[in-house]
Amino acid sequence: MVDFLRDFIKVLRASDVRISTSETIDAMNVASVVGLEDKILLKESLSQSLAKSLREKEIFEECYENFFKESYMNFSSPDDKKDDNFNDANKDIDSELDQDIFPGEEDLESMYNESDRTALMSSMALASREVGLSQIRLFTQTGMFTRKIFEFMGLEKLNNDIFQASREGNLERENDLKELRERIRLEIRDYVEQQVKLRTSQSGRQLREEALSQVRLSQVDRSDLAIMINIVRKMAKRLVSLHSRRKKKANRGQLDVRSTLRANQGYDGLLFETVWKKTKVNRPKVITLCDVSGSVANVARFFLMFLYSLSEVLPHIRTFAFSNKAGEVTDLFETKDIEEASAETLLLYGGGSTDYGQALIDLEGFIETEIDKKTTLIILGDARSNFGDPRADILKSLQEKSKRVIFLNPEPKGLWGTGDSEMKRFLPYCGKARYCSSLKDLERVVDDLLRMAF
């Protein structure tokens, strides 16, 4: 039982469910409380002790089905029952299992011919445990593991038998045995392949996620979009939990008598420290202006996604998009889900030729009354304005009114100011200008922003 649970938890972990040691112990306790006979009950109980969110429950469901599809329980129970010897049927399996320990001595042939599938399966399971099948990570290892398991199960004896039959000239038996060998081999390969699927489908994905988060955003393939969205969400979640609900006690307002008395107990009741009832929650105001023209459209999509996933930490976020004319897309983002909204934004505002001057004029019109000293303005774009007047003077006035202006540019610093890039003219008015081209960069920048507590 311990073995199968440990194995199952390994599969769950590989599928991106976080399970701690204490939860493993819980699962063991749960299994010993409810027993193994009732699979539905066991599944429900394990799900309650291992999968701790709706998403994890879904993954759990899938893993459980896959894991027990090949009636894995049958493999492990004989092992358990070995200590018990509680009926004859199991004794048979026991003796099979005992033989397994000396590979080659068992008779694969009779096992197969008597169509004792359970025995075959359990022998296979034992062999795979012995050769460490659970370590398999890549599908290219399938052949090797198949061979190893087969050898452990007694390939040598079978080969010997075939050799002997051919020497004796018993052609019929030779062919029979050869066919048998082939069938068992296929059987083992199926089993191994299934295990590979179970164990590697997610770990490959993890590798991919890691690679993708470092790749340049503009180079991301469309087919990877789904994975990217996932990464963006994960990063945003991490940042949210790091920075959410930063509060500080206000230093004026109504006196909290109880807390004050308590805080001053150390001073013999003399009130040195005062505690006030009001707590101040930091709610930064953020306005983002996002370039969605052709050259940066791919990057902008992720910028938008990311900033939007962050909307939990930044409840007052307004988003504007532009290529030549700027427009507000905040509503779009509030009512639709992230992917749909960013797609629509690109449709509405994307594709045109970039004009920073016009965009800034429009932006100023939108936010003139709202911008104040608590506002952070974030501009995402490559600052390539097609040789039009970038109207840096508007950025200057916005900078004077706001708390600060941050410019995130997907182009490396060396390219700033080359060709039609107006970055050099914007730079004096940006509190911060950063090169930001991969999700890792983006995460670092946003983390940095949040750390400064707006």
Binding site: R18, S20, S22, E23, D26, N29, V30, S32, V33, V34, G35, L36, E37, D38, L41, E44, S45, Q48, S49, A51, K52, S53, L54, K57, D80, K81, D83, D84, F86, K237, S241, S244, R245, K247, R258, S259, L261, R262, T279, E312
Partner: protein, 319 residues
């Protein structure tokens, strides 16, 4: 061992069925998932974290458990800014001050026959702890639950509304069922309380807290279960109408709504239909009473155009 295991499965199944039956007697209809969670939490002495959309009976579960077990229900409603003074304990400052004033003379007596500051301080030291004893302690829900002699059901409601700090503070209580009061020491209970935590998922609960709990997700009930719930809560409702009503609500949940109708709203709707003495569902009635089910104008507008179709479907489905 195998025999023991066999019986342990049977025993668990029996207990789970028993729990389910007990809940049913208390008017709380649940499926085996919920009963399993209760059973496991008792067997492992672990708190249960209950999640699910609003109005599926998370709080109700704790209430039903308390009436069934005949243990008092101690409820702690979480909100932003909840701290340990409100959740755990508080010193009775007024009483402390009053007593020091009243006992002033007595204190004088104690130190009157001492010579020098040091000696009087010494003799005071023997007494000062009386003002920080349990007599001056005002227990709040958590301390009450831990201290109770005959056990209790502790409901920590809407844990997601509280701050991260409070969540961290709960860890000690949930894993060891003990609390430390700096002035007194550690207080641990004689009987472990049955603990429920509920969350609406307005924010993600920390991993540390999740690790200490069993996790139960209660989704919206399927039509059979919901019908059972209606039978138990609104027994006056005509059988046919009940089937129509449940199927209507089930279909309504499929629509793209801001807030889908919860079980408690289905119950309310059933009650209002009984009150209005209505025998069959028709679009006019539904339209008039829709505000019992839907709480947003935009939702009512969305549903409005679909009502005819929904009513027709639910009448057909249950034929």
């Amino acid at each position: 061992m195998a025999k023991a295991k066999l019986s342990s499965t049977n025993k668990s199944k029996e207990s789970i069925e028993e729990i389910q039956a007990n809940f049913e007697r208390e008017g709380y209809i649940c499926n085996s998932h919920i009963a399993t969670a209760i059973y496991l939490s008792q067997a492992l002495e672990k708190p249960i974290l209950v999640e699910g959309p609003p109005g599926v009976g998370k709080t109700e579960l704790a209430k039903a458990t308390s009436t069934w077990m005949k243990k008092p229900l101690i409820r702690l409603q979480c909100y932003e800014g909840l701290d340990e003074a409100k959740a755990l304990y508080e010193w009775k400052y007024g009483k402390q001050l009053l007593y020091t004033q009243v006992l002033k003379d007595k204190l004088n007596d104690i130190i009157s026959d001492t010579i020098g500051l040091e000696e009087s301080l010494e003799s005071l030291h023997d007494f000062d702890d009386i003002f920080f004893s349990e007599k001056f302690l005002e227990p709040r829900p958590l301390l009450k639950a831990i201290n109770s002699n005959e056990g209790s059901v502790l409901l920590i409601d809407e844990i997601d509304k509280s701050d991260d700090e409070f969540e961290a503070f709960l860890l000690e209580i949930l894993s060891d069922y003990q609390v430390s009061v700096p002035e007194i020491g550690t207080i641990s209970g004689k009987v472990r309380p049955v603990v429920f935590l509920t969350s609406n998922n307005t924010r993600e609960i920390g991993d540390a807290l999740k690790r200490r709990c069993l996790h139960l997700y209660i989704p919206f009930p399927d039509s059979t279960l919901e019908e059972k719930i209606i039978i138990s809560r609104v027994p006056e409702l005509d059988k046919k109408l009940r089937m129509h009503l449940v199927s209507f609500v089930q279909n309504l949940r499929e629509l793209d709504l801001k807030k889908v109708p919860s079980v408690s709203e289905t119950i309310d709707w059933g009650k209002s239909l009984v009150l209005l003495n209505i025998k069959t569902l028709d679009p006019v009635i539904v339209r008039e009473t829709l505000n019992v089910l839907l709480k947003f104008q935009s939702d009512i507008d969305t549903a409005d155009s679909e009502i005819e179709a929904l009513v027709r479907v639910s009448l057909n489905e249950t034929k």
